[in-house]
């Protein structure tokens, strides 16, 4: 029987340098949740379809369940906790709360992570385009209407405020 192969990795998570020895088969979200206690990223399918696991690696949003932790060696990882701390999407989060753009909250970190991409260089977008952008993030509770409202409000406000 094969033994559990491990590797030491060194990476930055939410601005903090981290060094750990991990099983090579452990995916990034299990690493973040179980080794570092960042339970904000969630698992809904572990086959890359639902988007609950979305995290930012080297400035790009990716499916955390489809990346091995060992592949994040040397990378900069940002989770929803990190996004909250920097305040990068504080307006989006506030609009989510006000508009009730979540119910159970399980899809929310992934949804915010994905929506954040639209805010980085805000351009006028239609509701259909917002829906298209979020089309890889499953929400079972809201039916998406409120989420689209919250994202639209945030983009429009950012555009107005320049």
């Amino acid at each position: 029987m094969m033994s559990e192969a491990t590797l030491e990795i060194s990476l930055t998570v939410n601005g903090e340098q981290v060094t750990k020895t991990v099983p090579v088969r452990q995916h990034l979200v299990d690493f973040l949740r179980n080794e570092l206690g960042y339970t904000g990223s969630h698992l809904g399918c572990e086959h890359g379809v639902c988007g609950a696991c979305s995290v930012r690696v080297d400035d790009a949003v990716i499916r955390g369940c489809l990346m091995l932790a060992v592949q994040a060696d040397g990378a900069e990882v940002v989770t929803v906790e990190g996004l909250t701390e920097t305040g990068e999407i504080a307006d989006l989060q506030k609009n989510f709360v006000e508009r009730n753009a979540m119910q159970c909250g399980y899809c929310t970190p992934g949804m915010l992570m994905t929506a954040a991409e639209l805010l980085r260089d805000p351009k006028p977008v239609s509701r259909d385009e917002i829906r298209g952008h979020l089309s890889g993030n499953f929400c079972r509770c809201t039916g998406y209407h409120a989420i689209v409202d919250a994202v639209e409000t945030t983009i429009n406000t950012r555009l107005e405020e320049g």
Binding site: M2, E4, A5, S135
Partner: protein, 289 residues
């Protein structure tokens, strides 16, 4: 759904990757973008002995234009292809297809080489490279081989690449000035596997097709050239009769797979509809140009 145990080697160079592939044979699997491999690992549908991670191999990605050929490194992420001005200008077929490739987060990791190496029948890139007459370049410890796209896709998830070969780049002649291309796909939801799809490149003159490539995907086990449909159209002035002739001829070209998405009969029907729509669009685009 936790992956089974495997060994993991991070290839530092192309040469190392090739040597590992050669040594390990069937026991080794290339880990590129991981967007297709990782789900199968998590579901324990595949249990490779060793993963060879090529994400740190620096000379496998990038998009350049040389002498009317676009050279795309196999590890180029879908997002880079989607945002590339070279692709937008010289390979508009691929630019148009990129919006159908999965979702944002998947495009940030998934690679064009991974998509072509896997040859999922519903994938967009294999159809595009076949329609564009691309050449796939593979390397092994024994050297470099160039394979025409028409010779590359052999069957369901089956390609001409040998187990010890690594797909390293894709060479695609630019779409000729005066040509138009149309990419159409039918999927129940954004980013889903295609139920039916068509990559079309055409030379149109006075509402008639002088040259035409129609490559169907999603319904077949591999991207499939619609030779009879093309024959029914080339040289004819585009008309309702011509559209019907192409649709009727398509039954000779396609042998759709019945699966969860629908019956073979339905898929053939959808491909006929897409053919008419793609050719209408090609005429329109040629007139607008």
């Amino acid at each position: 759904m936790k992956a089974p145990k495997f060994n993991y080697i991070r290839a530092e160079s192309r040469q190392q990757a090739l040597e590992l592939l050669d040594q390990l044979g069937e026991d080794g699997r290339i880990l590129a973008g991981g967007q297709s491999l990782m789900p199968t690992l998590n579901m324990r549908l595949s249990q490779p002995d060793t993963l060879i991670d090529i994400n740190k191999v620096s000379d496998l990605s990038g998009i350049t234009l040389e002498h009317n050929v676009v050279r795309i490194g196999a590890m180029t992420r879908h997002v880079e292809v989607a945002n590339s001005p070279i692709i937008a200008e010289h390979l508009p077929l691929i630019a148009e297809a990129m919006g159908h490739v999965a979702h944002h987060a998947v495009r940030n990791r998934g690679t064009i080489g991974g998509s072509i190496a896997l040859a999922d029948p519903a994938a967009e890139m294999p159809a595009c490279v076949l329609a564009l007459g691309a050449t796939l370049v593979v390397e092994s410890v024994k050297g470099r081989r160039e394979i025409a796209a028409t010779d590359y896709f052999k069957g369901l998830y089956e390609t001409a690449r040998a187990a010890n070969e690594l797909l390293v780049e894709i060479l695609i002649p630019v779409e000729k000035s005066g040509d138009v291309s149309v990419f159409l796909e039918l999927a129940q939801r954004h980013g889903d596997f295609a139920m039916a799809g068509l990559a079309c490149v055409a030379r149109v003159s006075n509402r008639s097709f002088e040259d035409l490539r129609l490559v169907y995907f999603g319904s077949e086990d591999r991207p499939t050239l619609g030779a009879s449909a093309i024959a029914a159209v080339v040289g004819q002035t585009w008309s309702a009769e011509c559209k019907e002739a192409a649709a009727n001829a398509l039954a000779n070209d396609l042998d759709p797979m019945t699966n969860l998405q629908g019956s073979a009969a339905m898929k053939l029907h959808l491909q006929k509809v897409l053919t008419g729509r793609a050719l209408d669009a090609a005429i329109e685009r040629a007139e607008a140009a």
